[in-house]
């Protein structure tokens, strides 16, 4: 199995994540799409770690997961706060700042 197989998969997942951000209106789902993008990057890291037989790639992935957890905490807290205020997590209703 060539490594490019995994890279292609990771590229497709990355773009699917981007599409999720572009297309979905629910802030929670947008956030999930961001996680998908992170995962795509993780997959690429692990693939390259395999290719070079270097542990660095895997360790980086571990750190990314920790950071992702931190971001999730903050992001979800933000969404809860906004939901309290607006009663919705529709990202498109958040457009009072513009111009």
């Amino acid at each position: 199995m060539p490594t490019s197989f995994f890279l292609a998969l990771s590229a497709i997942m990355f773009v699917l994540g981007i599409l999720g951000v572009l297309l979905r209106r629910n802030a929670l789902v947008i956030f999930m799409s961001l996680e998908l993008m992170f995962n795509a990057a993780n997959l690429a890291f692990v693939t390259f770690a395999n290719q070079y037989q270097l542990l660095t790639g895997q360790i980086f992935v571990f750190f990314i997961m920790a950071v992702a957890a931190a971001e999730v905490a903050v992001g979800l807290a933000l969404m809860v706060a906004i939901f309290r205020n607006k009663g919705s997590v529709d990202i498109d209703q958040l457009n009072s700042l513009k111009g």
């Binding site: 199995m1 060539p2 490594t3 490019s4 197989f5 995994f6 292609a8 998969l9 590229a11 497709i12 997942m13 990355f14 773009v15 699917l16 994540g17 981007i18 599409l19 999720g20 572009l22 297309l23 979905r24 209106r25 629910n26 929670l28 789902v29 956030f31 999930m32 799409s33 998908l36 995962n39 993780n42 997959l43 692990v46 693939t47 770690a49 395999n50 290719q51 542990l55 895997q58 360790i59 992935v61 571990f62 750190f63 997961m65 920790a66 950071v67 931190a70 971001e71 999730v72 905490a73 903050v74 979800l76 807290a77 969404m79 809860v80 706060a81 919705s88 997590v89 529709d90 498109d92």
Partner: protein
Amino acid sequence: MTLIGIIFYGFLAIVAIVSAVAMLLNRSAIYSALFLVLNFATIAVLYLALGAPFIAFTQVTVYAGAIMILFLFVIALLGAEKLSGHEPIKGQRTMAIVLGLIFVVELVLFLIFRNQGIQPMLALTQDFASPQKIGIAMFTQYLLPFEVVAFILLSATIGAIVLTRVEKPARLGAARGKK
């Protein structure tokens, strides 16, 4: 690479992509979350194949376990809101799909067709990425990043508390009451 291997990886890839697409398309946030869990689990299996057992298990526990459960909690808390499929920004959908397609074509062109350095996947030994090795590396060579991650988590915790703690100033509450 045997035929079985190709079928195996192909199957996993299809599951991963289909679950990602399903997450993307599903109108209900709960189903989206569940499809994402499926995607993460599939990726975890690929990690195993790539010789990263530790990462695979972390993926399952941290990502599929902790993070996605957090998502589900929040969805439950906010009442699984269903938004209409209406797209308020005109042209957004078309543009997004067109750009997405171009982007994926570009990436694939770069990663596969232009990439001269393609090598077969290596079968790594069991102890290449054993938890022990990773632990040692993390506390020696990667000590500083490890500590930094601790501070990131701490500041995220503080941030989450600050953002959700209900502590409205009296005046503001009164003003909102008037409305």
